[in-house]
Symmetry: C2
Subunit: 207 residues, 2 copies
């Protein structure tokens, strides 16, 4: 039990603690229904303390979104490091996507907050698009174009629209957000089916 934190240490931790608590509250109640006092209460601290670190509830919300969006910077590097045939790399890319998006509760709930509050906080949408969505789509597009150039992938409409290749990962994320544990899906089977569909399609192969 390390109840012994110096003042400086405690002060340095506060903003992080507050943002973590705020994220949980905003996820659970939404922006409007969240009370700043309840955010503080999660830390055993009063509303006044929260207002020492964040000037308004809006600023707290935007900082909270930035706080959980931060750990995305490594995704781009992971994508460039993939090895193997284009099919292999695409498979790995999709698995990575499931891990970071559908598999990570914080990322999932971030998507919920974007949908729920995005129209009132447009800048969180724009930031997320520039920092996460656009680079990811560019990486998928580049990978598919390489596969087409090498002859491994066929030249079809799907090759120019990377969204349709990754969209099942979005679907699973939304499913988990809406149904939580009420209508669970077998995720391993789902992911396998997705990869099978992306690579092979539905039509029987002629020989």
């Amino acid at each position: 039990m390390e109840k012994k934190l110096s003042r400086a240490e405690q002060k340095a931790r506060r903003p992080h603690e507050i943002l973590d608590a705020a994220f949980e509250e905003f996820v659970e109640k939404g922006y409007a229904a969240t009370r700043v006092e309840d955010v503080g209460a999660r830390l055993g601290v009063t509303k006044g303390t929260v207002y020492l670190y964040f000037p308004t509830k809006e600023a707290l919300f935007e900082a909270t979104i930035g706080h959980v969006s931060a750990p995305f910077e490594d995704v781009r590097a992971s994508i460039d490091a993939l090895q193997g045939s284009h099919s292999d790399r695409l498979r790995q890319l999709l698995l990575l996507g499931y891990d970071k998006l559908a598999g990570d509760r914080k990322t999932r709930e971030l998507l919920r907050l974007q949908l729920a509050e995005g129209s009132r906080f447009p800048n969180i949408i724009d930031r997320h698009y520039g920092e996460f969505v656009a680079p990811l789509l560019d990486a998928v597009r580049a990978l598919i174009e390489q596969g087409v150039a090498s002859g491994e992938f066929h030249q079809g409409a799907a090759a120019s629209m990377p969204e349709v290749v990754i969209s099942s990962a979005i679907h699973l994320t939304i499913w988990k957000l809406i149904f939580a544990d009420r209508n669970p899906i077998d995720e391993a089977t789902f992911i396998e089916a997705h990869i099978d569909l992306v690579l092979n399609g539905l039509l029987a192969r002629r020989r």
Copy 2:
């Protein structure tokens, strides 16, 4: 200008008018931030009038969700009426899905409300699953199974997971909800790419 409505006619219309107005307000502001007074104001009527028809704000919200979910009953019939090869019918089914889900603003915004408020109104989720999601998935699954049985579709993991076949429609819907008109997608190309991917996959066909 038909300002001449009898009292009985006006009274019969009121609940519908209120629900239409409430839907717009809830979509724009979310449940918590919506003011009952503003719902009334859309009709040029005061808060008191709204409370003559709905006992609480919560009841108004649940009735609003039920109001916009209502017109789904015909979807099932449309699916059963499809004609042609299994590929043709699947294509028509997907086009129908885009039309009813991504293409219809009310349905799209209903999805947003489910995501945003579902955790505080669980029954709207359960109703929607039973009345819309489950029947749709069953129809897609049945169609794919018939295609596999006939030899037109190959027997793969995707055949048992109808979600991965329709998920691009969900993706486009989410995209439109989040980015509205800031990052528009060419929808015709998107849908074409989706159908191409579902039928052919990415791998080049051997000859």
